[in-house]
């Protein structure tokens, strides 16, 4: 089996508009989805990232006080999953709860070397 990284991007703009109940439900969806993957032994790991960050540019001589890509391109979290092919991994990520908040999910295979 191969491993794939799911990069979950954007979707943070409208979090403020959601009610605590909606947020709670959303978190439960994540838990269910990831729990489901774990049960099928497809989940390797995954974490959300904090929005702030720093970026080293120009050979590391300059540092900017924000992530390189922001807005809908901001990487908000990642998931590492097991799968046989890019197609299958893409299929698995179809049910990602991030979509409820308008996220995009980029599916990338871990380089074998």
């Amino acid at each position: 089996m191969k491993e794939f990284l799911l990069l979950i991007r954007g979707g943070h703009d409208d979090t403020g508009k959601r009610s605590p109940e909606e947020m709670q439900k959303h978190m439960e969806h994540w838990q269910q989805w990831m729990g489901n993957l774990a049960q099928q032994n497809l989940l390797v790991g995954g974490q959300p990232l904090m929005n702030e960050g720093k970026t080293l540019i120009e050979r590391g001589e300059k540092v900017i006080d924000r992530p390189l890509a922001e807005g809908k391109e901001l990487v908000g979290g990642y998931l590492l999953i097991r799968s046989n092919s890019l197609e299958e991994a893409t299929n698995i990520s179809k049910d990602c709860p991030g979509f409820e908040y308008g996220c995009t999910v980029e599916v990338r295979e871990i380089s074998p070397m």
Binding site: G45, I110, P112
Partner: protein, 424 residues
């Protein structure tokens, strides 16, 4: 491509290299995964056999085997980086878990000088003083010399089941004590090397002395014991005088191995051996090793035994043997540590120098020694002495006692022939 040719090449290569590959893989997978390491090497062998049959033997068959084993190791590491099978907590091993560093780190593990260190490290691990010598050698033969369980069983004249149990015990010991295969620190190297050398020498003698195992296994044991000793000599840290001495001793013995048996497999005594059959090249290397062994203050049994063996090799005929010189070495041996068997061998020198009466007088000193009473050579020696003293009845009864005590068919036949020749 000639199948037999491939088999021979592979067999030879496997005896030479499988231990090194196993050692590197154990370094990677940990001593808790010895079977996995052995499986990978076995797998490489099978693949070589299959591939070479169709495509022929590659230009560098050794590199081919190593590459195959390495690729398989990469595969296993990648598949198990999140499992608990392999312990990746060591900082260097952590790098095996990332695709950024897996290949470069893996290549490091397979660098020539690392391979050598790992192999030696495994030898020291196998010869841990807490492991019985029997288990040490069993494990060395299986894991470092590429013997199959069946071949190890044949070497020891025991069942495969017994061998499997011994292997299991040793592996359990490694697992429980998390033994790491490393070359000991300078302050421990002498004593730890001592244990390794006794294992090597025992293995050698298993091949050299035992008349019961089949010829191929015997030669294999001799060759492998010498290979292990030579690998100790390939590393500065383990180039100790006693290692050179044992190497010399084994060369002198091995040089004469073929002339010890007749075409029909009968034992031939030193006095009757065809000395033109002795391997002069081996005797010459032995002499060089013996010179190298003379550095420093260390004088071990191996030095003295090698010196004795060298005297025999040097003598143009049995009659020209310098028994006086040999006696000195025996005295020195007994001086290091009293050993009834050495005492018995010294008695044989006395027999040559001073005749049967003196020899018998000396043997009186060890009469009743429990170890010797059960040792067939002691009774055979007594028989020989009585025969020379023309006390034929006593001689025959001693030879008969010796026959009862030896397990070896060849020895039994040898003694039977002796009895038949006793007058009266």
């Amino acid at each position: 491509m000639n199948g037999e040719h491939i088999d021979n090449t592979l067999n030879h290569l496997f005896r030479q290299e499988s231990g090194k590959m196993v050692a590197v893989l154990i370094k990677i997978f940990g001593t808790e995964n010895i079977e996995l390491a052995e499986d990978v090497v076995q797998d490489a062998l099978v693949r070589a056999l299959e591939t070479w049959k169709f495509k022929g033997i590659p230009d560098n068959p050794r590199a081919w085997l190593y590459r195959t084993a390495k690729n398989r190791a990469i595969d296993i590491v990648r598949r198990n980086k999140h499992s608990r099978l392999i312990d990746f907590s060591d900082p260097q091993k952590q790098l095996l878990t990332s695709s950024y560093t897996l290949e470069t780190t893996m290549n490091d593990y397979w660098k020539e000088d690392h391979i050598k260190d790992d192999f030696l490290g495994m030898m020291y691990a196998c010869c841990h003083p807490d492991i019985s010598q029997e288990n040490q050698i069993t494990f060395i033969l299986k894991s470092l010399c590429g013997f199959s369980t069946k071949e190890v069983a044949k070497s020891f004249l025991t069942s495969e089941d017994t061998i499997s149990k011994r292997l299991y015990r040793t592996k359990e010991y490694f697992r429980k004590n998390k033994i790491r295969p490393i070359i000991p620190l300078p302050n421990q190297i002498a004593s730890r090397t001592g244990t390794v050398l006794s294992a090597i020498y025992l293995m050698f003698n298993e091949g050299y002395n035992s008349t019961h195992v089949d010829q191929l296994i015997r030669k294999d044991l001799i060759r492998q014991a010498m290979l292990l000793c030579r690998s100790l000599l390939s590393e500065k840290r383990t180039q100790l005088p006693e290692v050179f001495a044992l190497m010399a001793l084994m060369c002198f013995h091995a040089a004469r191995a073929d002339s010890r048996l007749s075409d029909h497999g009968e034992l031939i005594l030193l006095s009757n051996q065809d000395r033109t059959k002795w391997n002069t090249a081996l005797i010459q290397s032995g002499e060089q090793y013996l010179n190298n062994a003379a550095y420093g203050e260390t004088l071990t049994n191996y030095h003295l035994e090698a010196a004795i063996a060298f005297q025999h090799c040097k003598a143009k005929s049995y009659l020209e043997t310098d028994w006086q010189e040999i006696l000195k070495y025996y005295d020195a041996l007994l001086n290091i540590a009293y050993d009834p068997i050495v005492f018995l061998n010294r008695c044989l020198v006395i027999l040559e120098l001073d005749g049967p009466k003196d020899a018998l007088n000396i043997l009186e000193l060890v009469k009743g020694n429990k170890l010797l009473e059960k040792y067939y050579v002691y009774h055979a020696t007594l028989g020989e002495i009585y025969e020379r003293l023309e006390e034929y009845v006593k001689a025959v009864s001693c030879f008969k006692r010796a026959m009862e005590l030896t397990q070896s068919k060849k020895e039994k036949q040898f003694l039977k022939d002796k009895i038949a020749k006793v007058p009266g």
